[in-house]
Symmetry: C2
Subunit: 362 residues, 2 copies
Amino acid sequence: MASGATETTIHDIARRLNVSSTTVWRAINGRQRVSPKTKQLVLDEVERTGYRPSLVAQNLSSGRTRTLGVVVPTIANSVYAALVRAIEQKAFDRDYSIILCNTDFDLDREQRYLDLLMRRRVEGVLLIPFVKETATVNDFHVRRLVQAGIEVVCMQQPLPANGVPQVAPDNFGAARDMTQHLVRLGHRRIAFLHGGLQAWHASMGERFEGYRAALAEAGLAEDPGLVVEACSFESILAGVEGAFYADRVQALLQSKDRPTAVFAPVDVLAIKVMAVLRGLGMRVPDDVAVAGFDDIVMSAFTDPPLTTVRHPSSAVGGRAAELLFERLAEAGGVRTDLETPRLERVPCELVIRRSCGAEPVE
Amino acid sequence: MASGATETTIHDIARRLNVSSTTVWRAINGRQRVSPKTKQLVLDEVERTGYRPSLVAQNLSSGRTRTLGVVVPTIANSVYAALVRAIEQKAFDRDYSIILCNTDFDLDREQRYLDLLMRRRVEGVLLIPFVKETATVNDFHVRRLVQAGIEVVCMQQPLPANGVPQVAPDNFGAARDMTQHLVRLGHRRIAFLHGGLQAWHASMGERFEGYRAALAEAGLAEDPGLVVEACSFESILAGVEGAFYADRVQALLQSKDRPTAVFAPVDVLAIKVMAVLRGLGMRVPDDVAVAGFDDIVMSAFTDPPLTTVRHPSSAVGGRAAELLFERLAEAGGVRTDLETPRLERVPCELVIRRSCGAEPVE
DNA sequence: ATAGGATGTGTAATCGGTTACGCACCGGTG
DNA sequence: CACCGGTGCGTAACCGATTACACATCCTAT
């Protein structure tokens, strides 16, 4: 027994009124018949004592916890914060609570949290899986969740099909749109900067494919020299400093065949590129246009403000939550878990600012 | 009964092994004697079935939920996000989970969440109370929590003593430091911009007092004309656009007795002031120095970068969590609830950038 | 007058762990 | 040989809400 004033229980009410707790329950929940006077007596006593049914007990006896786990790398990143915010909103509307789990880009932490969420018998988990080199490890834990009857929806990082529905930004479409935008502005030599094109980190690869598709559509040849790994994978994940390959970027920007536009599909990277350009005495967008991806807060305040793709983090979170609730609602029906797992794409919006030149006259 | 595969219970294990569930419990928890062979049998079976004790059931029978409620205006604000992050870290270390509650500057939402947290029997609540005009309403709900034996620690907004420990930034000291910094840089006419000096919103008032104290210490007279309400209260809370009184700020900056420095103790406000100055063709810091408060993300990226006070949000969150756990640990001892409620202050750090001129040579 | 239905309420079991209590058996001591 | 403490384990109750089932009343219809 913990400390503190013990809460009044349904039995306390019953005892004081000389009725059974069942009667009290019926009066409160109004789902079975009680005589009007008894009902009134009970409600008065409830009011008087400020009785509130314990959700802990309800959870146990009903088998439903009305709780969701939300597992993200870190809430300190504004993109993830917006995503969590959207989820919390949907959950609140449906009287669900969310347990916040920051994995801090640590696989061990992620696993411990997933285990905890299982033990807490959450009804669902919204997960931004930490992908690194291989998704096998999370996959194992995700599978355990699913087997335990917990609905899981993955977000953000398209994973190899693991039987779980996923919601992710339309990286391909957005990158293609941005590249097309640059083409429309007259650019013919457009560089693509990345942080490693590992197969297991799909987002970056998808953006790259979008870039390539736009080039192809515009009839432009791909120049391998314009595709540069400009920072380490880690620095993209966490926005960490340090692993930026300034030399390569400088070399690119000073080569005789230098690009007239640089698409760095992560804002932190794009901003660093602008710094390099400033260092080289080159102007943005006059000498080189720069485009980013994510629309982090500072992107609106760089000099010049960064043209970028708005990461639809709210929409991703909101849609993922909806999807989860849909599945929760239809659970009990025939679970067609064998169906092809869905991967929903959320469209992204271009944010045209000044780092790529004048706003195009559409 | 919810859908999904029903989890194995301690009774399942017991039945399969032909022992009592008590024995299984003892083998798992190792807190009472069991014969080595029985213990091994049980542990093997646990391993085999992947049994994990239900925290829902444990919560009910132990009366402890190992859960905290964290109630903040909105996680989308980076200052609050950092605070929540710090809390989550401390909670994770102690095997506690946190339920995230965004009140969205809505008193009704705050109350509904506090009620929910009570019903969920959380052990503690970390709350950034929404203060507006009167704190009476939250006070009522906070009191209910305390009466229910839930530990509450308020953060961020110094409240009139309500018997609950509080952790807040040292607004007074920080504002004094910043003002002194401006004085050291040679400024004699330092304006103070605010968003209303309502008594019920203590932070702003404390910063104002810090400003006044520094002036007094420097032997400078206060000029009421230099103290201007530059935006609405709401716009400060949420960083909302629109309620910025540009005309007043312009008038101040163009008056013949115009200030040489402006202390706008909220970064969003300071940044708007810089925009006004740019509009007037005045340079920062050459014509007018500008200082802010909070060190929001964009403050490092304004032109010039903003000199400001770093809001110690992580420290506030972390300290509040520690305080909560301390109280949780000592609960059961003699609760001296009648003691003077503590209000802890967390020191803030000046972030000297370029909006106030050269870094002072200390 | 009496069967049949609606009505109001209580009893006891259940959800999954936890725990007070007690019992049987062991070896050792007086 | 009787007694005692330690050991290993089971029974049953409990946490607080929920629910299947049953049992009295009372009203109505035949």
